[in-house]
Subunit: 202 residues, 2 copies
DNA sequence: AATATAATTTTGACCGGTCAGAATAAAATA
DNA sequence: TATTTTATTCTGACCGGTCAAAATTATATT
């Protein structure tokens, strides 16, 4: 049945994810994916058109999962500062998961420059991230807890700082720094959004 | 003489840079590098141990050039706010150069997770970036124009926001947004460093 | 200066190895 | 039995690295 096929596909995507995180995007072979999924080589070709098709779905799957996780996190909170904290904490997750995720994500970002499909998928991911940012900021401004910053600009800034911090953290092989970067990120964003001097000058 | 050999090596590095920016890290072959450098395939092997050696030197060459450029830019200015502006403007450079550079740099970052040499080189680059940040912040605090933020934290934040902004910009194929992201980045950093509420709580 | 010799640099064909994709067959399942 | 899944093998393309020979440049000799 369809459900079972869907299970297989996810099994393969998980395997591909693991393979990419350990071996790196380009050194992953169809055989690797099959090995990690504990199936034979032909299965991947049966469920996906080719290797690129696997990766395309993998990027979609991963970014979708991240977005849903982050969105769920902020939905549990009710004030803007709480949502902001929840967002940053969700984005940073825990060191080992996040290291794995960002390794893979970074490879896709690098590839996106030469692959329009990846770029499109990432655009949708960005849109989702920005929408989270906007939601938080709008609430904060309605509450009166946040300054009257330009909402779009600020939503870009939020994601830029999160990604920039995580990449910087990723490049140091030191999980200790995870909470440091997370808290610094949150603190900076809190001050940025709260500071009444940051008024929208438009 | 030695000088001529050095010329050749740089010629090859430039070719490799061009090749990576156009074709992507992993699809670049020794033949590609030779083609871009307008020499035969064997030359690269004559001047470098192997392909990886070329890439290692390429990353060093590129990051060194970037750092020197940024450092030169802030050295021309005398006040902290001016240095900050100069730094951000240097980091953003111009759209086409920066797109090329960040494409290549992003590929190296992705690779760094599986390549210790790349990671080491990037660590040195980060150190240089942070030192620029620290220099600016220290001056600003001495001048009294900047708030008493934690200098290390702030230097990480500065680079994180620059990198995060540039990557986000890179993923949109729109050079128009270049000044938008640059100015937003600078504005955010200015406010962050100037805001007297951002006091170091240690 | 002209020629011969040596050193350096460049070339491109070649080899061993790898991989994606295709083809095929065998086994399992319903 | 028909369909799905797994296992195995083949093939053609491609790449990194090698290296002998060619070309060029530098040096020595007369």
């Amino acid at each position: 049945m369809n459900n079972k096929a869907e299970k297989r596909r996810e099994q393969i995507l998980r395997a591909a994810f693991q393979a990419v995180s350990e071996k790196g995007f380009h050194s992953v072979t169809l055989q690797d994916i099959a090995d990690y999924a504990d199936v034979s080589k032909g299965v991947t070709s049966y469920y996906f058109q080719n290797k690129e098709d696997v990766f395309r779905h993998l990027l979609e799957w991963v970014t979708e999962k991240i977005y849903k996780n982050e969105h769920a996190a902020i939905s549990k909170e009710h004030t803007a500062p709480d949502k902001l904290r929840a967002y940053v904490h969700a984005a940073f997750a825990n060191p080992s998961d996040n290291r794995k995720f960002y390794r893979v994500y970074l490879e896709f970002l690098a590839q996106a420059n030469h692959n329009e499909q990846f770029r499109d998928t990432n655009d949708r991911f960005y849109e989702n991230c920005w929408s989270i940012g906007r939601e938080i900021i709008q609430l904060g401004q309605k509450e009166g807890t946040f300054a009257n910053v330009d909402i779009d600009k600020a939503s870009y800034t939020i994601r830029a700082l999160i990604d920039g911090s995580l990449i910087q953290w990723l490049m140091q092989n030191n999980d200790q720094l995870h909470t440091f970067y997370r808290d610094n990120c949150l603190e900076t964003l809190s001050n940025y959004l709260t500071n009444k001097n940051n008024q929208n000058s438009n």
